[in-house]
Amino acid sequence: MSLLNVKDLSIQYGESTVVDKVSFVVRRGESIGLVGESGSGKTQTALGLLGLLPRDARLTGSIRFKGSEIANRSDRELDRIRGRRISMVFQDPMQALNPYLRIGEQLRQVLLQHGLASGVKADQKVVAMLKRVGLQDPERQFRAYPFQLSGGMRQRVMIASALIAEPDLLIADEPTTALDVTVQAQILDLLETLRHDTALLLITHDLGIVAGRCERLLVFEAGKLVETGATTAVFASPQHEHTKTLLALAPRIDRGDILPPVTDKTLLGVEGASVSYRDAHHAELVAVRDVNLSLRESETLAIVGESGSGKSSLVRALLGLIPLKAGRVVFAGRPLEGAVETRAKSLRRDLQLVFQDPAGALNPQMRVQSLVGESLLVHEPALSTPERVQRVTASLATVGLDESFLSRFPHQLSGGQAQRVAIARALILEPKILICDEAVAALDGSVREQVLKVLREVQVNTGMSIIFISHDLAVVRSISHRVAVMYLGRMVEVAETRRLFSAPRHPYTRALLDASPVPDPLVAPQSAPLFGEVPSLIRPPSGCVFHPRCSYSDARCKDKRPELRELDGGRVACHHASETLLKQA
């Protein structure tokens, strides 16, 4: 008998149908991946299963759990199932845990509610559960508040609360999207080892995650279930067009793309750059320490690293948005210094920035035409209005948007369109360097591909250089000529893309690669290559900053900081970066 039997499930808001006649089954103990692009109805389906939809939603169809109907049942009836038989892990553990309540208490309530334990017994159970999800010193963490934990730890707590009642089905909605890759790998491992015979419905937009971990797949498109089957079969021979596109678009860390050629003229040089902030207690926090970097004409240089690695701080300092504490930047043979307002106009237009959040970067009260054309007023005041409109139209055309967009407001754009408008706005000034700070992180597969394609085309046509900041190695591989890896404010490895991906020299680079999911069920998923999380910048580890998490570290690593040195045509900062060592691992 199947555990969960969903038949013709539809969810509507007024006239719009967000989930359309979806039917599927979940069998005991199996793991199912539910994949689809943003807005395809994944979350709505999950919430519908648990009766957690907002009041204005209308749900029809049948949801049978262990044979009994649970669709549209009262909260009173469902409360016996929620958290006990079917539980859920949400995407953002900061939002999903109560910030005003100790985490032990949040877990204990689940036990009390379902009458599974009480008093000291309950406390003991909670501590045991916290220990199982990998919290060190669980007795103490019992009394911690969510804000005192790192993102990865919070998600562990979330998982603990979902599994503490030993449910039959666990629904995990993008459980790792808010986390760093190395932590993502840890969390996915944890889900797998802890669930025992709890069935898992894993919701994600990332095909790499489901490829190695789920037995079956459900593929959603615009509220419809378009394909279902064994994971290996779906990957090997997708039947539906949409599945084919999704697979084709999934960025692959194990394959590269052909890129436009690079000149060997250096355009930008960064020497010994450091950036520091002061935190609330006035302690100094060195976000970037002694970084050397160069960028050639027509080159795309990627900067990768997990949260807190200093990627954004570095480029902000380049742009003059924040001051450099030490070091200097040379652009086209001239020193680039001072705050952005004090720089010459021509220098300002040569460096343009595109942010992660397109909606936030566009003034909601302005039309696309003014948004894109605005900077021309400053930099080319002599232009007549028709000339300006023409330039705007041309710039929009390079990012694949036609004239009909000129009069739109930002809220009338999709995420991908908004990001392309932001790029058009940067490109209209014909910059020598375009800096993209996580510019495609929020975008879906197809939209992300469009944006990346636009960037490559512009590079071929104009010879522009690109600094591409990303935490996603798979995306980086498809666009960059060279990659710089940062960890805790330091540059740990710089190398040509192909070399870096095929033969990483730094243990951290290697871990990042191993942690990145590959959308191919035949490539066995690596178990989490790193333990722990990125330490605090306020008290960085001694010696090699990576040593607490590095499996190669020895006494020397603890004491002495490795310098960045030449190796294999790249540069790497590691005492043990000798070839043999890393190849064997």
């Binding site: 009173r76 929620r82 958290g83 845990l97 005003y100 208490e105």
Partner: protein, 307 residues
């Protein structure tokens, strides 16, 4: 947390000082003195009295003398009741006012929070609309209108409750004054609670709690009430001030021998030291209670506590 509390305490001193000086100067600038009414004494007698009370000195010197007295907890003698010091008069009037204020505040919080939560849970329903329109009325009708109406209704017409203060015993005599005083606060707190409860209930962690199978009651009690109380807590400062001012009117209307009544009498009698003393006493009280409210923030919000 302790450091924070001490810092806040030190920070309150200049505020209090400013209030004292301003109040002192304002009372001094008021036209007429305590002893110049129709039955004015002989100029020489007046001069003698003024000398006793140091009213002939320059204002700055008087202020200095007054502040000196304050440090010793001495608010000076009453001009009207020479047998009493102002501190003694406050000591006599305060207990009744305190009882009235505490009862009104408790009633306001209890009823306001419950009604607000109730309305939030049934957002858009009939109950919600009734609670909200009631509280709109509660906010817009002033105390001096509510008080006589309640007396008319419950005491004069229905004879459920005593009309006056003196003569009647027990708690019954508190009911109408307390309700009068609490009514606008109930209304305000209900609206605040409703709004913040609705906001809190829309947060992600409430959805988590629902997904864990916690029922509505457990969710409110364990997860929602604390954060929903934060805006209500910040309103406590103004609420306390409003109850204090309201009590001046209420005590007058119901003939309660409290501090509010003393204040009004003091003003009518030009008993300036008494008026000044009560103003300063109330100011200190409000500042102190605001401090307590601030510290309560730390109890509710762990991130505030960390500071």
């Amino acid at each position: 947390m302790l450091r924070y509390a001490l810092l806040r305490l030190l920070g309150a001193i200049p505020t209090l000082l400013l209030v004292i000086v301003l109040a002192f100067l304002m009372v001094h600038a008021a036209p007429g003195g305590p002893f110049d009414d129709a039955r004015s004494p002989h100029p020489e007698v007046l001069a003698a009295i003024e000398a006793t009370y140091h009213l002939d000195e320059p204002v700055v010197q008087q202020l200095g003398r007054y502040l000196g007295g304050l440090l010793r907890g001495d608010l000076g003698p009453s001009f009207r009741y020479p047998d009493y010091s102002v501190s003694e008069l406050i000591g006599i009037g305060f207990p009744a006012s305190l009882k009235l204020g505490v009862l009104a505040m408790s009633l306001a919080i209890l009823v306001g929070v419950s009604a607000g939560t109730f309305a939030a849970l049934r957002q858009g329903s009939m109950t919600d609309r009734v609670v909200m329109s009631f509280s709109m009325t509660g906010i817009s009708i002033p105390v001096f209108v509510v008080a006589p109406v309640l007396v008319l209704l419950f005491a004069v017409k229905l004879h459920w409750l005593p009309a006056g203060w003196s003569g009647s015993a027990g708690v019954a005599k508190y009911i109408v004054p307390v309700v009068t005083l609490a009514l606008p606060q109930i209304a305000y707190i209900a609206r605040l609670t409703r709004a913040s409860m609705i906001e809190v209930l829309s947060r992600d962690f409430i959805r988590t709690a629902r997904a864990q199978g916690l029922g509505t009651r457990a969710i409110i009690r364990i997860h929602a009430l604390k954060p929903a109380m934060l805006p209500v807590l910040s309103y406590m400062g103004p609420a306390i001030a409003a109850i204090l001012t309201g009590s001046v009117v209420v005590e007058q209307v119901f003939g309660i021998p409290g501090l509010g009544a003393s204040f009004v009498n003091g003003a009518l009698n030009r008993d300036y030291t008494l008026v000044l003393g009560i103003v300063i006493f109330y100011a200190a009280l409000i500042i102190a209670l605001n401090l307590v409210v601030d510290l309560l923030y730390g109890v509710i919000d762990p991130q505030v506590r960390q500071r």
